[in-house]
Symmetry: C2
Subunit: 378 residues, 2 copies
């Protein structure tokens, strides 16, 4: 039997044309566009179009996508009441997983895998995830849910449904950038889970639900929440140095620094850093930016981090960004899911286009040839 | 970059001591016991204990497991009303996926991964899945749900909740055997999905939900339903021969014959065949057994099937077995899930015990170096 490839490190499981990552150089491309080409100008909706259709949309194509997505934002009354009756103590990622699974209850989910049917399901998932999460976020605070608006972008509509007021242009842009940067990242664990589910010809809802569940783990999407906990533990900028020294001493990992793939600066981090800086400059509360910047500065110059090529990853500046947009920490990973749904659905459609069951093997290392004994003799 | 291992054929992703399969010899062992040792006598509850604890239980251990499982059968009132308000047109596997996801809403799902916490979640999932599915099956027929009983086995209690009458000993034994035989099967696609989800330290509910979604595809758990459709299409035993000839001519695949792993008779098939025969002998309706037996007989002797080593798989006789127990065809895959939950939870606990993120790579084959163009110029 061949060697055990624990964690599938370095095993190449598919060909794909969605995302290119060069971890050593810190390069990330969506469909051939370097993230530095996209981050300054592209909207989340343009990225969704790019990921789904392999090209940037023209005005007409983008308007049609907006129309399709906007038309699917509202939950039906039954689904809305299911979300409203969700226990307020539930973890938001469990609500996200259940909520998307529920969308599938209202879909005949016939065994149709033609491109247009799948595209409609992808529209449905992408449009309704923000509604589900904003509804839950308000209900658990005892507030009435706010229906989606038809005249706002994906980012602005979410903040509207969450807060009941139109976001400032800076807030909208900050969330939009976050959604752009997190939308896709190759064969990460959650995307791989989506593809394994799709590979049995399970439906789009099942596949995305696998992605959400997989993202919820603390070594994947859960890390962003822990990055914020850490900044709050540090508490103020004067405490960064002593806190860092404490970490070194206790060999505690710094959350948001280091990445399984990137052995240089995560190419998304500088874009997020610049946006957090801009948000901080317009707000009275620039504490989180100051703490994050100082900690980065100290960490990247420290020999232990240099040697191991540990740099801020995408979680590091996402945490203060989402915090400054008014999101509770336990909602952070759901925002990640709301963005990554774009990449997941693109990968699921690619899997259906050239489908093959994904079934690896495992090496058996247990006992053999045991004989049944009646229960009285055990 | 190394070669693309599409479908991960032959790639060994882990060591495990849960299940041994030799596809060429048609061998299947759970924790070192050949399935032929277990099938004649073991109950599903004994198999659950074996898979979770690496040994067959003594009387005391088995009684404790029964107690733990029975205590968790009932849904709380809120969860029950969620299942009752599920649209009746929903696909049962979507209900199963959503229902298990909902169990997680009522669990604090704290980031506790100690053995006992996970064992309690596994109890919870295993016990409540039959209740969720029996409740839905009745509600969609306009019937009142029947609460679980505390004095019945896992198999008998399910049939009780489904039909409101105690099953005959034969029916209970037939379902129990089905649950025993489907409980575990190595690194199949759904189990692999469970492990990928668990590998990010996502919780047990998320991991099982990934398994259910993955099982729902027609090339995995969905095939059993299609096997029954085929027997119904054949319709009567005299039509087997002409139908088979038609299949050969049109090169149509026969559902329930052939397996990705087994290149000889699936070791579970003869046990199921014997049980279907026993059920048929006690019933007025032995048509399905007669059709299945005759079709097997013709197929395995045909050169095309001999050459390709195509034999009945586990789905083949599962279909008439579940049909004769009174289950609707669209519930068949849910029964598979109810059984496989035992193996899934065993694998998830094994993954937590020796955890490592599963993150393969993909080869990028798309364009590179594209430049951003303003929308007006596209």
């Amino acid at each position: 039997m061949p060697n055990v490839k624990s964690g599938l490190d370095g095993v190449v499981v598919a060909q794909q044309d969605i995302c290119f990552i060069n971890g050593d150089k810190g390069e990330l491309d969506y469909r051939g566009y370097h993230i530095d080409e996209l981050a300054p100008t592209a909207t989340f909706e343009e990225i969704v179009y790019l990921l789904w259709h392999r090209k940037l949309p023209n005005n007409e194509e983008l308007a049609l996508l907006h129309e399709r997505l906007i038309a699917r934002r509202a939950l039906n009354d039954d689904h809305l009441s299911l979300i409203q009756s969700t226990p307020h103590t539930a973890q938001p990622m469990s609500v996200c997983r259940t909520g998307v699974s529920q969308i599938g209850l209202y879909d005949p989910e016939k065994l149709l895998f033609d491109k247009e049917t799948n595209m409609l399901k992808a529209d449905d998932i992408l449009s309704k995830m923000p509604t589900i999460m904003a509804t839950f976020a308000r209900c658990r605070k005892g507030l009435k849910p706010i229906p989606p608006r038809e005249d706002l972008s994906h980012a602005a509509n979410f903040l509207w449904m969450l807060n009941g007021e139109e976001p400032t242009p800076e807030a909208e842009k900050a969330l939009d950038l976050y959604l752009v940067l997190l939308a896709e990242h190759g064969f990460n664990a959650s995307t791989f889970a989506c593809r394994i589910t799709a590979a049995t010809w399970a439906g789009m809802y099942s596949a995305v639900v696998s992605g959400i569940g997989t993202l919820s783990g603390h070594s994947h999407g859960g890390a962003i929440q822990e990055a914020m906990n850490q900044f709050q533990e540090i508490g103020n900028v004067d405490n960064v140095k002593p806190w860092f020294k404490g970490c070194l001493k206790s060999k505690k990992r710094i959350m948001g620094i280091g990445h399984r793939v990137y052995k240089s600066l995560d190419p998304r981090a500088p874009h997020l850093r610049a946006k957090v800086k801009a948000l901080a400059e317009r707000s009275e509360d620039h504490k989180w930016f100051d703490i994050a910047l100082k900690l980065e500065d100290i960490a990247v110059r420290h020999p232990r981090f240099k040697e191991r090529k540990l740099y801020p990853n995408v979680d590091y500046y996402s945490a203060p960004l989402l915090h400054m947009l008014g999101l509770n920490q336990d909602m952070f990973t759901c925002m990640f899911a709301i963005s990554r749904a774009a990449g997941w659905t693109a990968h699921i459609m690619a899997q259906y286009e050239d489908n093959r069951l994904i079934r690896p093997r495992a090496k058996y290392v247990g006992p053999k040839g045991l004989k049944w004994t009646p229960i009285e003799e055990r």
